[in-house]
Amino acid sequence: MRQPGQPRAFLGALIGGAFGFGLVVALRAISGLEIFQTEQTGYPHLIVPAISAPFGYLIGLGCFDFWFRWAAGAPTVPDDHSQHGAKSWRDYFKFNTDHKVIGIQYIVTSFIFFFIGGAIAMVMRAELAQPGTQVVDPGVFNGLFSTHAALMIFVFVIPIFAGIANYVLPLMIGAPDMAFPRLNGLSFWLLPIAGVLFLASFFVPGGAFDAGWTGYAPLSTGAPLGQSFFNLGVQFAGASSVATALNFLVTIITMRAPGMNFWRMPLLVWANLSTSLLVVAATPFIAGVQFMVLFDRALDTNFFQFQAGGDVVSYQHIFWFYSHPAVYIMMLPGFGIISEVISTHSRKPIFGYRLMALALLGIVVLSYTVWAHHMFVSGMFSWLRVPMMITTLLIAVPTGIKIFSWLGTLFGSVLHLYSTAMLFSLGFIVTFVMGGISGVMLGLVPFDIHVSDTYFIVAHIHFVLFGGSVFTIFAGIYHWFPKITGRMYDERLGRVHFWLTTVGMLGSFIPMHWIGMQGMPRRVADYSAQFGDWNLFISLFAFMLGAAQLVFLYNMVVSWRFGPRAPANPWRAKTIEWQVSSPPPVFNFPEIPRVVGGPYEFGVPGARHAIMPGEEAEVREPVPATVAGGSRT
């Protein structure tokens, strides 16, 4: 029980929860208040333990052991690697400081929430298959779509990218680990807490939070207790991503292998650099605004209480000031993955590498200037709409640059279509461009006025988040599966997964554009009978999409256990992570590699990206002209 680990963690959670509960009871007793407040939104005797129990859990798990010892002046060993690496599956349930273990922890945890969120979507589609209410009542339905979105966004898409990058990125830049391994471990363990809080809201009085993942005030400030669990869950997920982003920034800026200047970084590294810039600056806004809602609910502050002079629309401004950049937080790492996959599987350098990197930075800057396009009909200051429309449309330009560069890369390539990762990358281009086009249309104020808050929005967001982010996630998982597990997956099942997913995705989300334009609002459990046929059609394809993911699950689990052993570099890629064994050794490299050229020098005779330790230093450095993008051929 004294050793860090799950038993001590649960004990810690119990003690933390009891402490919080006791604190509330004691304070209320001292103040002469009724011991158990049961007003609709208050419940301090549940909210305070919901904050203190997770901290107890983290302390029990051992996330803070080193820092506590250090702060107390107890002897610590800076080079203590006892929490590094994993020898058995049990080690994945412990606090770990190895970026490869943490990467796997992130990926597996995120996929668990993906499957829960997906199951929730299936229930919603069952309800929506016919007009009227059959499966769940409207109150439960509101809780279902709110948790579906919260799980998918905060504890699936955002963290799984952090997970993939956690595993791959230090290897890619030739670093032995992340810059702050203990912070990295803590970042991960904040994540399941967020997901559990979201899900726990189903079991509290009043049911799950039901004001949408956007949680607009004043619907959220007046909602039952579940809403507070959303407010808190976002804090833990947000803290997790901010800490990870800081870690990535410091790692990328200071820990690149000798010779890896910025123009020699693989685009996945560029993508995570850009994403991290967004996360560290934007995420505090959603954390702040959820605290403001929580304080309005629990402490009777008046941020959004319009009766007391609060301003309702300001919630949306602060929320979207995070949540629009968040769209790119959920997309840029995927762009990085696609660049790696397309270059490798088409045996060609990325077309216009430097412009690709600059386009990422362009998106970072522009994405801070477009938030109010979510609010064209919100009653905000109406002049603001036109400049926001212009910036919104302009952000399509760097995104378009990336699409054209990938197409340019494919042109004249040796295109290996057998690989599931490549299939998902090409599928991503088809689906994401469609989401991009509907995004440009939504940017046009007059059109947006018509389709705002309709199923057109649902269609758009699923084209960019499913056809975009999730396709890139699948591409990344398939691409690095051999590296991470040391096993090959079954390509045949991978192809089945790809085709079922693509057809299911198109069948589910294309008709949503139309029913939205025709007049079906989003977030409704029941709808006008005229949309019945299309909704049945959508539901059938959605079930197929859901079933397709079971093929993926089976392929991953069985291949991880029984797949054939993977060679170090099955795709013959150039980047450093493929030059070490699969899976890599505990400390990645016996000696740091030396980078001598660009990351994608396919077809350039004699060119190399890196010289690995122990390799003969006979390789000549390539001439600079072949490294840079933009050179004429």
Binding site: L394, G400, I401, L407, L426, F447, R523
Partner: protein
């Protein structure tokens, strides 16, 4: 790669653009158009469909051609062309899309100004929304209704307020939408040009009854509209005529009107009012046997005692503020009268 190849690809892009555009333009994407604003927005939609078809055709042709032409044979371990980029091409695909989106923005701006221009002879309607009902007040005509009636071919400006949470005003056939925000008044205009019956749809998630929050919209000729106004005035005149309501029959009328106006019928089944919603308890079943005082408490403090199967926070708890003493009394009397004699559950 020869010049002929590029020309063939360009031809394929143009053909595909034309085919997609022609097919797509056959559909009425936005549904029936019922206002001058709708015509403008539908034209914009069509223009964007053509532009989007062109962009999507470029992508599909490039992708399709690469897959068809460059697909690796099994066992082919060679590399592709070591092309790192092409500065002129990269500048082109930065600048051309920039120009396209800026033109689209300018065009949209023009349309936005046009659809939001105010006409001097417009009709004014004040809209009030609450969970989960709409109310329309005609300040110039002095009438109030739960149905929205507007004359055809005349601009109407809606000045809108929400009293609890955010709602959103949308008539799909008019294409215009605007949120109703507690604590501020928002405005939207529409110029309906198609007579008929439509639905006003709340498009901002507003709680458990969101999907049922609709109101009938009638667009009619100016004469029919005037006749409707006169009709409404007659009704209201008889209600408000003698100041305090004394006559029980009139009081019941007032209660019945409140039951609809306040949105009670949006959630509760009450056979006397012909409502069949099931978001809240069926009043025919739960009210018999309750004292008027109990019913009053249930209206102003709905969570104090809950019916089986219904949780806290479902019913708005602000009726104590929004209804005055007299209105509350009429509503309770109406509920007592209309459920009296029904079998207790």
């Amino acid at each position: 790669m020869t010049r002929a190849t590029y020309l063939r690809m360009l031809a394929a892009m143009i053909v595909l653009t034309v085919v997609i555009s022609v097919v797509m333009l056959q559909f009425d994407w936005n549904g029936t158009a019922g206002s001058t604003e709708a015509d403008e927005i539908d034209t914009l939609t069509d223009v964007m469909i053509v532009v989007s078809s062109f962009v999507y055709s470029i992508v599909l042709v490039m992708l399709g051609y690469s897959i068809w032409r460059f697909r690796a044979k099994p066992g082919d371990e060679s590399d592709g062309d070591a092309v790192h980029g092409n500065t002129r091409l990269e500048i082109a695909w930065t600048l051309i899309p920039t120009v396209i989106v800026l033109v689209a923005a300018a065009y949209s701006w023009v349309i936005l100004d046009r659809i939001e221009a105010r006409e001097p002879d417009r009709l004014n309607v004040n809209v009030t929304a609450q969970q989960f009902a709409w109310q329309f007040e005609y300040p110039e005509q002095g009438v109030t209704s739960t149905e929205l009636h507007v004359p055809v071919d005349r601009q109407t400006e809606f000045s809108m307020q929400a009293i609890d949470v955010i709602h959103s005003f949308w008539v799909p056939e008019w294409r215009v939408k605007k949120d109703l925000v507690p604590g501020q008044t928002t405005h939207v205009t529409a110029t309906p040009n198609l007579e008929g019956s439509f639905a006003l749809v709340c498009t901002e998630l507003c709680g458990i009854g969101h999907s049922t929050m609709r109101a009938p919209v009638v667009v009619e000729s100016q004469e029919d509209f005037d006749a409707w106004v006169a009709d409404q005035e007659k009704d209201e005149g008889s209600e408000a005529g003698g100041g305090a309501v004394e006559d029980p029959a009139e009081e019941a009328d007032a209660g019945e009107a409140l039951f609809a106006e306040q949105g009670c019928s949006g959630c509760h089944t009450l056979s006397a009012a012909g409502s069949t919603a099931d978001i809240g308890p069926a009043l025919d079943e739960v009210l018999p046997g309750q004292s008027p005082a109990d019913i009053e408490t249930s209206i102003i403090d709905p969570d104090s005692e809950l019916s089986e199967g219904f949780g806290q926070g479902i019913m708005p708890d602000n009726f104590g503020d929004s209804l005055d003493e007299e209105q509350l009394q009429s509503l309770v009397d109406y509920l007592v009268a209309s459920t009296e004699g029904q079998g207790a559950k």
